[in-house]
């Protein structure tokens, strides 16, 4: 070991990315960024309960800061891309590491959410594409330029849209209930005393986030949030 040559910096980056530990660290860091976005996005969305003016003004405010908006979008795009590329590479590695499967395998000792990360992640990813197509690019659904509040309400009044959204948010919650704990572990910042706390906190925050997102389509379907008549 002591005879190992110290690798050059670029070599180091390359080797770092080649290892499973390095890739998982990238998944974790990009996951944190996506998680932070989710929190901010939820806070923004919940303004729907404060009425059309407040919600639309928030959207106008965001668009009045093109530099910040585009920086955030680029960071998110880079993170989503890295998160997905590392996921795919690791998933393929995992498959080749267990090329022959068991006749019988019992995975009950692991949580359901943790065992389904390779399902919840891609479905959430597909949802993100649909979600952007609907509310950002206005390509699908009962949406119209310049009326974000009414776009949300009119969309969620169509129950199939709400149902898909609800399913995606439940999966996001499952993804985060394991992911938020997992990222601490991947970055090496847990400890025997902290782990149980981190695990519970991750579950709790995942539930809070899911309920937060779910409250919007449910409120619309229940007739609690209605269109403003502005469009």
């Amino acid at each position: 070991m002591s005879s190992l040559a110290v690798p050059a910096p670029i070599d180091r980056v390359f080797r770092f990315y080649q290892t499973t530990v390095g890739k998982k660290a990238i998944m974790a860091v990009t996951g944190v960024v996506l998680f932070a976005f989710i929190l901010g996005h939820l806070a923004g969305n919940l303004q729907v309960f404060e009425g059309q003016a407040k919600f639309d003004n928030y959207a106008i405010f965001l668009r009045s800061l093109p530099a910040a908006l585009w920086s955030a979008r680029i960071v998110l795009l880079v993170c989503v891309t890295l998160h997905i590329v590392t996921t795919v590479q690791l998933a393929l590695l995992g498959k080749s590491a267990r090329a022959v499967s068991y006749v019988k395998k019992d995975n009950a000792a692991a949580s359901y959410a943790s065992r389904t990360m390779y399902w919840s992640g891609p479905i959430v990813g597909a949802f993100i594409v649909y979600h952007l197509a609907q509310f950002t690019f206005l390509l699908t659904g009962p949406v119209m330029e310049g009326h974000p509040y009414d776009n949300v309400v009119l969309s969620f009044q169509q129950w199939p849209i709400s149902v898909f959204y609800i399913i995606a948010m439940v999966l996001l919650g499952m993804h985060l209930s394991h992911g938020v704990w997992s990222m601490f572990q991947s970055l090496g910042i847990t400890s025997p005393t902290r782990s149980p706390f981190i695990k519970s906190a991750a579950r709790l925050i995942a539930i809070v986030i899911t309920l937060g997102f779910l409250s919007i389509p449910i409120a619309v379907l229940a007739g609690f949030v209605t269109t403003s008549g502005a469009r």
């Binding site: 290892t19 499973t20 590491a97 267990r98 499967s101 068991y102 006749v103 949580s111 065992r115 847990t190």
Partner: protein, 246 residues
């Protein structure tokens, strides 16, 4: 009691294997699982058939030689127990048991339930030691070891290298094993000076052997006969990341 066994039989590394059904008759609840297989094997030998190959040595849960899957769980249903220390009193008359070898591309089957675990030896060889000339034995207590560090190092050192962690992991990751070996040395004052290069070399070797990625789901921890905790993986990750990035 009488049991039905479905056992993976494979002549050699190159042969194609398959599950074969056996009846284990008059099994005593006092037998260990391996003793039950010994009796089945005696029956097979008496009939002129090839006995079921499985690994074992100490039969007291300390050497790490034994191990296979019983109904999809490494070392069977008893937590913190190797298969040699698993007793038949945990089973009931009429139970149907599926016995399979550890499945990992890095651990090819040699015969029946026996797999090649030399990748673990190579991971140890990559850094599972302290490269200081030791000379003659030191006087006791010349290197002070904090009690907490000694306890943690001892917990990690309990790993017997059986491979159950790899077998249980859906990605056939060797993170619990490698993490235990890294933690065991990195936490002690004697091992700490080389902790970063050790983490780098051992992680590098673990990957070179073709083990999968850790997804922190904890199936390894659940089956480990020595109840090694997931935190050893955390320690491996930390020492690797600090060593590479700092």
């Amino acid at each position: 009691m009488n049991l039905t066994l479905h056992v993976w039989r494979q002549k050699n590394a190159a042969a194609k294997g398959g599950m074969t059904r056996y009846e284990a008759k008059d099994v005593s609840p006092d037998m260990s699982f391996l003793e039950m297989l010994d009796v089945v094997n005696e029956g097979l030998i008496a009939k002129g058939e090839e006995p079921i190959a499985f690994e074992h040595d100490c039969r007291e849960g300390i050497c790490g030689s034994c191990g296979f899957m019983i109904n999809g769980v490494a070392h069977g249903p008893q937590r913190g127990t190797t298969v040699c220390q698993l007793h038949m009193r945990h089973y009931r008359d009429g139970d149907v048991l599926f016995l399979e070898p550890w499945r990992a591309t890095a651990f090819p089957v040699i015969k029946d339930l026996v797999v090649d675990r030399r990748p673990f030896d190579r991971i140890i060889a990559a850094g599972g030691y302290i490269s200081a000339s030791t000379g003659s034995a030191r006087d006791g207590n010349t290197i002070l070891v904090p009690k907490q560090a000694a306890d943690k190092a001892m917990d990690a050192a309990a790993c017997i290298g059986c491979g159950a962690c790899v077998a249980a992991c859906p990605n056939a990751a060797a993170a619990l094993f490698t993490g235990a070996k890294i933690t065991h040395l990195n936490i002690l004052p004697q091992g700490a000076p080389e902790r970063y290069s050790r983490a780098r070399s051992m992680v590098g070797q673990m990957n070179a052997e073709g083990f999968g990625q850790c997804t922190n789901i904890g199936l390894c921890e659940a089956v480990c006969p020595k109840e090694i905790k997931l935190e050893v993986i955390n320690k491996m990750n930390r020492d690797y990341l600090v060593g590479v990035l700092a």
